[in-house]
Symmetry: C2
Subunit: 243 residues, 2 copies
């Protein structure tokens, strides 16, 4: 396996990989570009932790799709940050919930979550000699989360460069595309095999269960995440066969 | 107790409070300025965790010094971030240590530690309705840690404002003063009582032991932290009585 430290350009990457549709597409995107790609997943007591359990199988699936990807795929890291959940719970113990609702954000919003993820990712890159971070933040389906905005990601990139005295490029290949285009990107990167892998093996449903089988994968079919995924799939299929 | 949410200016503060000399001085600085001050401490498996054990006693000591401080002192929060330690250990498992040493940073450097601390602090402020963060970062005794620099702190402040869509002011009262001036600041804030409290009850020694008693407090007297503390105390005393 090529060692990122051995390349002149220090071209190793770390992909934020939760096991969902977006981060799996991003991991494929990284494998298509960088000679060495490690993965990082965060366990912070999220409700849909079943997503995390899918990571090993997805990594194996990606390795089966392409010998080059198999060669490039490096170590997986799982980081436990229970403190993120603890801080969220704090909201339930104090009379400030109305103020949060007034901002239009759900009570489940974990403030600064992506900043924490990116900072831990950069710390790991620092330690592992990796220079690129690949992450699935997206403004297009921006659900009111300010830490998904491109402006925020760029500010974090600048703060990390100063705080670690080293440059990490943060790549967000999904920033400006919608869910239909994310499926199309998967097809472009890995053909029908990757589309099938993502459809059948990634988890999106908020309820944390595999549920029933739909055209677009498994889930409850009712929650906002399932509906967003179904709508994206339908637009993707319509564009592919009907466009 | 006044509730920060009840004030028009939303003037509540959160002080990063490790139980050391610097953060105890910063907590006193915050108590002298803000109507409501909560404290946050981080447990990340640091070697000198004895420092954390001193926090409760120091909070009691500060409350005894001034009835106003007692009234203003709010809840204490301890956040466990073991992942920070886990990422540091990663260095020991890979052949990249020479590169780190070449930067002049010790192997114990935890990359981005202060960015993680400030992000968690801001998340807690968000949840608790607090607007000010008080932290002990200092450029003067800057040991090569890029995340202590004022430039880094300002970049993090900007990234947090974007990522949480809310403004948090980060105050670093020690940024431009040396250890002698930190003692003088304590005297200014809380007189001889505060100087005594900090001298006798804060922990600085890297070895994590109370050790012997010196003019400047307890410690091994030999490690870099003890020597820095001793030198600062001597300059402070010389300035007070001999200047």
């Amino acid at each position: 396996m090529p060692d990122a430290n051995a390349t002149a350009e220090n071209a190793g990457a770390l992909a934020l990989f939760s096991g969902g549709q977006d981060s799996t597409t991003c991991l494929a995107w990284a494998l298509a570009r960088f000679p060495h790609v490690e993965t990082i997943g965060f366990d912070y007591g999220q409700r849909h932790r079943v997503e995390l359990d899918r990571r090993a199988g997805l990594r194996e699936g990606l390795a089966r799709i392409s010998p080059l990807w198999k060669e490039r795929l490096g170590e997986d890291h799982t980081i436990s940050i229970e403190a993120l959940g603890a801080i969220s719970e704090t909201a339930l113990t104090r009379d400030v919930e109305i103020a949060f609702n007034a901002t239009g954000l759900p009570n489940t919003f974990v403030p600064g979550r992506n900043i924490v993820f990116l900072t831990f990712a950069a710390a790991l890159c620092y330690r592992r000699g990796l220079s690129h971070i690949v992450a699935g933040m997206c403004e297009t389906d921006y659900s009111g989360y300010p830490d998904c905005r491109n402006e925020t990601i760029r500010a974090v990139e600048a703060a990390l460069a100063l705080g670690m005295d080293r440059t990490f490029a943060i790549h967000t290949p999904l920033m400006w595309i919608d869910k239909a285009a994310t499926w199309a990107l998967a097809e472009e990167l890995g053909g029908e095999a990757l589309v099938q892998l993502i459809r059948d093996e990634t988890h999106t449903c908020y309820l944390g269960e595999r549920g029933a089988r739909f055209d677009w994968g498994y889930g409850c079919g009712e929650c906002p995440a399932c509906r967003l995924r179904a709508a994206g799939w339908e637009r993707y299929v319509a564009g592919r066969f009907g466009g």
